[in-house]
Structure formats: C-alpha cells, structure tokens
C-alpha cells in the first residue's frame, strides 16, 4: 500500500491510498481504507488510587501501550462480493482536529480494513501530519511556580516574545525574579525546555507525567546578587530543536512544551527555585 502525496500533510488535506492486491478476495462484505494514528502512551500497570493520604501507589511500574485512534475512512468500490486483484484507490480527508505526528505519541497510518469470511489481509502505509501554527495565535498561557514547599522564596514571571514557535526557532524572553525572603547567597539563573508527556488514557490507569528536559541547559546569569523585594530582569535566548516533537493533544496522552527557569543559590544547601511558562510548538 502506498500513500499520495508523499510529503508531510496538513490537517484538512486529503490522503489518497493506493492498494495493490496480488490475488482477488471473495466473500467480501465491506472494504475500506481507514486513516488514523497509533497513539503510544505510558500507563501504570497496577495503579492503586484508593489511598488519598499518600497519593496513588503502584505495584507494577509503568509500561508503554499503543492504541489505534481512527480519524475517518473511505469505501473501496467493488462488485459482486469480490475484491479484484490489482490496484484500488481511496481518498480520505484528514479531519481539522488531527493531532500532528509527534514522536513518541502520535504516528499516522492508512490501513486496509476488509470484512469477509476467512482470513483478512493486512496492509498499512505510514505518513506524516504536521502541526500548523495555531490560528488565532494564543494570547495567554500557563505560568506555574511555587510547586515545591522547600524552595518557594522567589516570585517569578517569565515573558516570551511569542507564545507559539516553530521547531528550530529561537525563543527570546525575560525572566523577572523577586525574592520574597532575605537573600544571603549569590545565585545562578538557568533556562531550559521542559517537555512533559501527560498520560490521560481512556481505559488504562494513567501514569504520572513523563518529564524531559533539554540538555545542556543555558546559563543566563552567574554570581547574581538578588535582594528581597527587588525585581531583577534577566533576558534569555533558547533554541528549539529542529526536530522537536510538536505540541499535541491526542486521545491517550499529550505532549506539552514549557520554558523552565531555575535560580540556583550557591553552596551545598542552596535552594533550587523553578518556574515554567507554557509555549506552543508547531512544525509547519
């Protein structure tokens, strides 16, 4: 089976799948070309969410699962219950909500689906769907800070020049830090990308967030003397990887991108304060 056009596709474009059968199939009641994506996500094998005191526990650890999510189909025309040998084509339009190809969460495929008595042949072809820039561009995004009880003495603000970036773009912005407690140590400011994989399966127990940080991180300020109540602004520049998996929300998991800023106080006992701002990453 082959797919045309042989290039990355945008949502709402049409895919034409060409199927070549070596021999005729009889007793066929239905034959279709189906498009959809293989959604690979992490789940917890035996998640016990009975206890609400210590949070969910897991006896078995995490595993990967892959589920098929259909996104449309188109019938193959045949007559007399016999699918003749040779080539058959069908065109299916990608729905507007199609999540783009995003490694490792989403991989698109066109598949043959035949209903007949006896063995059904299998055929599939992979293709790529890109994520276009959001329209309209987002004007607000989430800023998360103060997640840790022990390192929560700085009020952050992270401002980026845009909220949507194409993979490979340079993210420029400013971190504003305002300590809320007296400061006695010098500090280092770092930025990096944080790409969490959020698991939200339909049936299986969800796993905790799978974290990924871009490496190496970028140090934007060294030997910084912060002062209580004084806002320090630090400009930063970060380059998105050219092959970055774009932001997607699939059925069973999501891929998100955040800019994460960390302030590390000097010394062995220096706290690591962090905050993050969500951005949208597209690749078309």
């Amino acid at each position: 089976m082959t797919v045309a056009p042989d290039r990355p596709l945008l949502p709402t474009e049409s895919v034409t799948a060409t199927l070549t059968l070596d021999e005729a199939l009889d007793d066929v009641t239905d034959a279709r070309i189906e498009i959809g994506y293989l959604n690979t996500f992490k789940y917890e094998w035996a998640r016990n969410s009975t206890t609400d005191l210590v949070g969910p526990t897991s006896a078995g650890g995490r595993s990967d699962a892959t589920e098929w999510v259909g996104a449309g189909d188109s019938p193959i025309v045949f007559a007399g219950g016999t699918l003749a040998a040779g080539t058959h084509t069908a065109t299916v339009r990608l729905p507007s909500w199609s999540p783009g190809t995003s490694d490792p969460a989403v991989a698109w495929q066109a598949r043959l689906r035949v209903e007949r008595k006896g063995r059904t042949p299998e055929a599939e072809a992979s293709f790529t769907v890109v994520v276009p820039a959001p329209d309209p561009l987002p004007t607000e995004s989430r800023l998360v800070q103060g997640e840790r009880a022990m390192a929560n003495s700085i009020h952050f603000d992270i401002v980026t020049d845009s909220l949507a970036y194409r993979a490979g773009d340079v993210v420029r912005g400013t971190i504003s830090v305002t300590p809320t407690e007296p400061v006695s140590k010098s500090a280092t400011a770092d930025v990096r990308f944080y790409r969490p994989q959020v698991s939200h399966p339909l049936e299986k127990p969800p796993s905790p967030v799978i974290e990924w940080f871009s490496r190496p991180h970028v140090t934007v300020a060294k030997d910084l003397m912060l002062a209580q109540g004084v806002t320090t602004e630090i400009p930063f520049e970060l380059t998105l990887p050219a092959d970055a998996s774009p932001t997607v929300e699939a059925v069973h998991n999501s891929i998100q991108w955040w800019v994460m800023a960390t302030i590390t106080y000097a010394g062995l006992t220096g706290a690591i304060e962090r905050a993050r701002r969500e951005i949208f990453v597209h690749n078309a």
């Binding site: 035996a46 969410s49 609400d52 078995g60 996104a71 449309g72 909500w97 939200h200 339909l202």
Partner: protein, 140 residues
C-alpha cells in the same frame, strides 16, 4: 466549502482529574472510628478481596485465589487481634495514667514553670532538711 468529518474523539483523564477511586465500603472503613468497626470492616470479604481490585484482569483473579486460600487464617488473625488490641489499649491507658499523675505531681511542686535560681536553691534546701530530718529520725 464545508466537509462532514468524524467528530473529535474524547480524550481520557489524568490521574489528578480522576481523583481517588474509593468504593462506598472503603469510604466506610476510612470513616470508621471505633476499633470493633475497623476490625469488622477488615473481616468483610468485600474489603479483603478488594485490596487487589486495581490489578489487571488475570493477575487479579490469581490474587483472589491466593487471598481466598488465606481468608480463614485472616479471619483467625482478626479474632486474635481483637483481645490483643484490647490488652494493648489497657496497657497504654495505665501508662498514660501514670505519666499524667507524674506530670500533675511535678506541676504542683514546681509551680507550673521552670523555677528561678533562688526557688531551686530553696527547694534543694528543703529537700536537704527533710533528708537530714529523716536520717536523724532513723538513728534515734
């Protein structure tokens, strides 16, 4: 031009969105206050077999088999635990009474707070006098 496209499939829920998964009977156990209530809940087969309810199919049935074999011994353990807990609670009550008595005794004699240097010297003197007195009485 409008197209008829399949509806967007619903996404699932994260662990935080799902929240704790408690059955009504488990809620009863967490709300239980008295000891007999807790022990009766522990002996309840629904709770006992429900402790492996989050395991996947297959594994869960195997664990049910194992738990079923152990259930009579579990009931025996609950029965033994009942008097043991009563005895332990009684011992704890007695220890508390002793400790509470000592606390009151010291509180009364020391005036409810750490005595000053002068008061401590006074107490020491009183104690020494008492001791000398009793010694004198002994040798009479």
């Amino acid at each position: 031009m409008s197209h008829i496209e399949p509806p967007r499939p619903e996404r699932g829920q994260t662990g935080a969105e799902r929240g704790p998964n408690l059955t009504s009977i488990e809620r009863e156990v967490t709300d239980a206050r008295t000891m007999p209530q807790k022990l009766l809940a522990a002996a309840n087969p629904k709770n006992y077999f429900g402790m492996v309810k989050h395991y996947p199919a297959g594994t869960k049935q195997f664990l049910w088999l194992c738990l079923g074999i152990l259930y009579p011994f579990w009931l025996l353990g609950v029965l033994v635990a009942w008097p043991v807990i009563i005895v332990l609670k009684a011992v704890g009550w007695v220890l508390f009474q002793i400790w509470w008595f000592c606390t009151g005794w010291f509180w009364k004699r020391l005036g409810g707070e750490k005595p000053s240097k002068e008061r401590r010297a006074e107490i020491d003197q009183e104690r020494a006098a008492k001791l000398a007195d009793s010694n004198a009485q002994q040798y009479e």
